[in-house]
């Protein structure tokens, strides 16, 4: 698996960079980064700081252990799971295709942290449900929208789309904006014509 190319951060001085909401902006002093690097030397891959946000990228199999470590370690105590989501990195890098993003927040220390891990299509991500009860629906939504399977999830079924939705997972980049099937709106005979065809990516 080639080294995942992360997004080059274009640092610009802005008022947003000075806030300490995500912990010290210098990665070395950040407690979470330091402790995770010590605890999981092989799984720890990279840390990115953009605006005041600190993002740790870990290897996929170690996701659950890292998050559990972040939650239970007395010095870190990230005990509030804010969000789990995924990003389809189809146009931004070669492999792995998806990024599962876990947003954590420590209520006692009032600090946020983001943990990411790369997932390929069809690979299983260790589910965070045994650690956070709040992860249940968030992971079901990731599965529903991206097709990422969470191993250990008690009840992985579609949450937003109807159970019998057979057209794949809509938030993937290769899923056309108006879906595969052309629906005839009530009151019309033929479906609306597709003007712009499939999604063309305008250049940067």
């Amino acid at each position: 698996m080639s080294e995942p190319r992360s997004l080059p951060a274009t640092p610009e001085t802005s008022p947003w960079d000075t806030t300490e909401y995500w912990g010290p902006t210098d990665p070395e002093q950040h407690p979470a980064v330091r402790l995770v690097r010590e605890r999981f030397p092989d799984a720890f891959q990279e840390v990115v700081v953009f605006r005041d946000e600190v993002t740790i990228r870990v290897a996929r199999p170690a996701l659950r252990e890292v998050v559990d470590f972040l939650r239970t370690h007395p010095e870190l105590r990230y005990n509030h799971l804010t969000d789990i989501t995924a990003v389809d990195m189809l146009y931004l890098r070669e492999r792995p295709r998806f990024d599962v993003v876990v947003q954590l927040y420590s209520i006692p220390r009032r600090q946020r942290l983001r943990v990411k891990c790369g997932v390929d299509d069809g690979e299983m991500v260790p589910s965070l449900v045994p650690i956070f009860a709040g992860a249940n629906w968030l992971e079901r939504e990731c599965y529903d929208m991206f097709g990422i399977i969470f191993e250990g999830h008690p009840d992985l079924r579609r949450i937003l789309l109807p159970e019998d939705w057979d057209e794949g997972h809509p938030l993937r980049k290769d899923y056309p904006l108006r879906g595969y099937r052309d629906y005839v709106q009530p009151g019309y005979e033929s479906p609306a014509p597709r003007i712009r065809g499939t999604l063309r990516r305008p250049g940067p």
Partner: protein
């Protein structure tokens, strides 16, 4: 006086039809309706016999409560759970009918043949009116001569209610709930380890917020800064209870 007899026979006829309805109806609810019909007519007959109190009690107790209870049970109970009392039907109907008719002929012959012997009592219409109506008269007699009977009936009713409650007590739902809770954890995926911060018995003092009595006997804690109540939630005495 013939009007009285005419009305009596009319009511009697409807009462008998109701009773037949009870026996003949296929659906128990229909037979219950037949029963109510016949009881109401019998109550009307009591009115003719100037036993108003009896008529009203009959309507309230019998038609209003007992049969409603029976209808309740008919609706609650699964039909094929009911204990079976009789096997095949056709032969039984025949014997029942024949027996019934024979008995009816016999009894009515006896009634018509012999008059009634008994010493006429003191309670004629005018004496009842003097006392102030059937109810007052009943009351006086009831609470003078039949005091013992009243106590016994009271005891009987008490025993009946206690018995009914003991018999029909529904299974406690709580332990079924606990069982279901172990099984039923659909979107309730439980975190394995749940850090349980040791919670103090008393409500922690708000560092620089205040406790405001917010009505309904319930305090609300107002925190002014973001640091208080993050380690220890404002959750003291509730837990201790």
């Amino acid at each position: 006086m013939t009007v009285q007899v005419l009305v009596f026979w009319l009511l009697a006829l409807v009462a008998i039809l109701g009773a037949l309805g009870v026996v003949a109806a296929r659906n128990p609810i229909h037979s219950a309706i037949g029963l109510v019909l016949s009881f109401l007519n019998v109550a009307a007959i009591y009115l003719i016999a100037r036993a108003e109190f009896l008529a009203v009690v009959q309507v309230i107790v019998y038609a209003g409560a007992v049969i409603v209870l029976v209808v309740f049970v008919t609706m609650l109970v699964h039909p094929d759970d009911l204990p079976e009392f009789h096997g095949r039907r056709p032969l039984r109907i025949a014997t029942g009918l024949v027996l019934g008719l024979a008995l009816l002929a016999e009894v009515s012959a006896a009634i018509l043949a012999h008059g009634l012997r008994g010493t006429p009592g003191p309670w004629t219409d005018d004496t009842i009116a003097a006392v102030g109506g059937n109810t007052r008269a009943l009351g006086q007699v009831l609470y003078s001569d039949f005091m013992l009977a009243i106590q016994l009936t009271a005891l009987l009713l008490l025993a009946a209610t206690i018995g009914a409650i003991a018999l029909a007590r529904p299974e406690a739902v709580s332990e079924r709930l606990a069982a279901a809770r172990r099984v039923m954890t659909i979107s309730l995926a439980h975190p394995r380890g749940l850090d349980q911060p040791a919670l103090p018995a008393a409500l922690p003092e708000p560092q620089n917020g205040r406790v405001k009595e917010a009505g309904g006997g319930r305090p609300i804690v107002l925190a002014r800064t973001a640091d208080e109540f993050t380690e220890q939630p404002a959750w003291g005495e509730w837990r201790a209870r």
